[in-house]
């Protein structure tokens, strides 16, 4: 079982590495969106400090959505996905491996670059650390829930817009808890409870979403 998981993760990481530009574009998009905000609302440091968590989190949501079509679209187009569906290995496990790889190439870079954004938005050390912790816990949920949307809209016309319509409302708890954790630290309350809830959400999503994604894939490919 673990060997299957590792093989799927390794394969998807290798594919992502061969198409480095795609991966870099998602990260670049994340940074560009965040950069646009001060240009729109003004460079007043107090204002930027107070909106930074929300801005970074919304940008992370959008970046996750935009990268979702990479999850299954290419495998669907060249028939690999069908092989995965009929393989003897459990499909939820394969799905978990693919989403893990997706998280490694989108969620992890986004989390890492957040330290720079924290400096740009003049966040304190505690706030920046919490922001990164919340992103580290929250981005797996984005990949997992997003995978459900990506699987449901596989091969549909207008899939990109549709998937954001389906998935964004489901991202609400992650957004609230993620941005809330940083705001709580900024208010001197400590972000612990928020991070614990985010971790609970991540575990919940890891256990349940692979099954939903598998069901959705079978529906979309059959």
């Amino acid at each position: 079982m673990l060997r299957t998981l590792a093989a799927v993760v390794r394969r998807d990481l290798l594919l992502a590495f061969r198409q480095r530009a795609d991966v870099a574009n998602t990260l670049l998009f994340f940074v560009v969106v965040v950069t646009m905000v001060p240009l729109g609302v003004g460079a007043e440091p107090n204002l930027l400090r107070s909106i930074a968590p929300g801005v970074v989190w919304v940008a992370a949501l959008l970046a996750a959505i935009l990268s979702l079509n990479r999850l299954f679209a290419a495998d669907f187009a060249d028939g690999t996905l069908e092989q995965m569906l009929i393989s003897a290995e459990p499909l939820p496990l394969i799905v978990l491996g693919k989403t893990a790889a997706h998280w490694l190439v989108t969620g992890v870079p986004v989390t890492a670059i957040a330290v720079v954004l924290g400096i740009m938005f003049d966040l304190g050390v505690g706030e920046t650390a919490t922001l990164m912790a919340s992103l580290a816990l929250g981005t797996p949920v984005l990949s997992l829930i997003g995978a459900v949307g990506a699987a449901l809209t596989l091969g549909l016309r207008g899939g990109g817009v549709l998937v954001s319509l389906l998935v964004l409302p489901l991202y609400v708890p992650v957004l609230i808890l993620g941005a809330g954790s940083v705001e709580a630290v900024a208010a001197g309350l400590g972000g612990g409870p928020y991070l614990l809830l985010l971790g609970a959400l991540a575990l919940f999503a890891i256990v349940l979403t692979p099954w939903a994604v598998s069901a959705a894939l079978r529906i979309s490919v059959e």
Binding site: L152, L168, V172, A216
Partner: protein, 252 residues
């Protein structure tokens, strides 16, 4: 197993077949429509002529006779929709999935009415049409969930795939709705607490409560009637190539 049940006949299971359900729904619609009209008329009469003026909110509180029933129905219908979608997915019964598809627009309308009437009530009471309060926000997100369900089904040409994909989305949504509700609640709360609760005595006059419950029943009956009418249209559209519809069209 299911075919055995159907072959046994006589049971109400046979109405899972669209060609048998179509005339049954046709017979049921007038009854539910009549009940909806009567209950809404009675509820509005109680709400506008019998119920006393509220001590703090004046006359504007009377919008709750529309607002609360539509908000209840908006949440209830999502669960009903997800239930029929899940039944359709699990038992592969076409009619269940059609029912889920038929309920979605009514649920969306109820959500919209709840938001709109809430905005009209908020203006005189809170001094603003919209606040980013937990219940308002989660109701808005519920509207997005309905619209997402409808958009997904509209984007898929094959009706069976649309049914199943919609079912997976509705089930994921139903699991998420409580999480969304509580996360939004922690985020911000201004809305007055629930006035009606099963565990403690309601904090409103008995006539107000009666009016609201009668209206809620009326909305319920309306939802059933309109969903049945819509499911009949969906049956006609999907089964248009089958013989029984040709016979039906030939007789008419």
């Amino acid at each position: 197993m299911q075919t055995n049940v159907l072959a046994a006949g006589g049971g109400w299971w046979k109405y899972a077949a669209p060609n048998l359900f179509y005339p049954l729904a046709g017979k049921m619609i007038p009854w539910f429509a009549a009940a909806a009209t009567a209950l809404c008329a009675l509820g509005l009469y109680i709400g506008f002529f019998v119920a006393p003026t509220d001590a703090t909110q004046g006359e504007s509180y009377r919008i709750i006779f529309i607002h609360v029933p539509s908000a209840w129905m908006s949440m209830f219908l999502y669960v009903v929709m997800a239930f029929w979608a899940a039944v359709g997915l699990a038992l592969n019964t076409r009619l269940s999935s059609m029912m889920a598809t038929a309920i979605a627009p009514t649920g969306a309308i109820m959500t919209f009415i709840a938001l709109w009437s809430g905005a009209l009530w908020g203006r005189p009471t809170w001094g603003t049409y919209w606040v980013w309060d937990a219940r308002l926000t989660s109701e808005l997100i519920l509207l997005f969930l309905y619209l997402g369900f409808m958009a997904l089904q509209a984007a898929i040409d094959d009706p069976r795939r649309a049914d199943k994909a919609g079912a997976v989305l509705a089930i994921v949504g139903v699991v998420n709705v409580p999480i969304i509700y509580f996360s939004v609640k922690w985020w911000n709360t201004l809305h007055q607490g629930a006035s009606v609760s099963l565990s403690k005595a309601p904090t409103m006059a008995a006539t107000m409560l009666t009016g609201m419950l009668v209206m809620a029943l009326g909305f319920w009956m309306y939802s059933i009637a309109i969903s049945l009418a819509r499911v009949r249209a969906i049956i006609l559209e999907r089964e248009r190539r089958s013989d029984w519809i040709k016979e039906l069209a030939g007789n008419a």
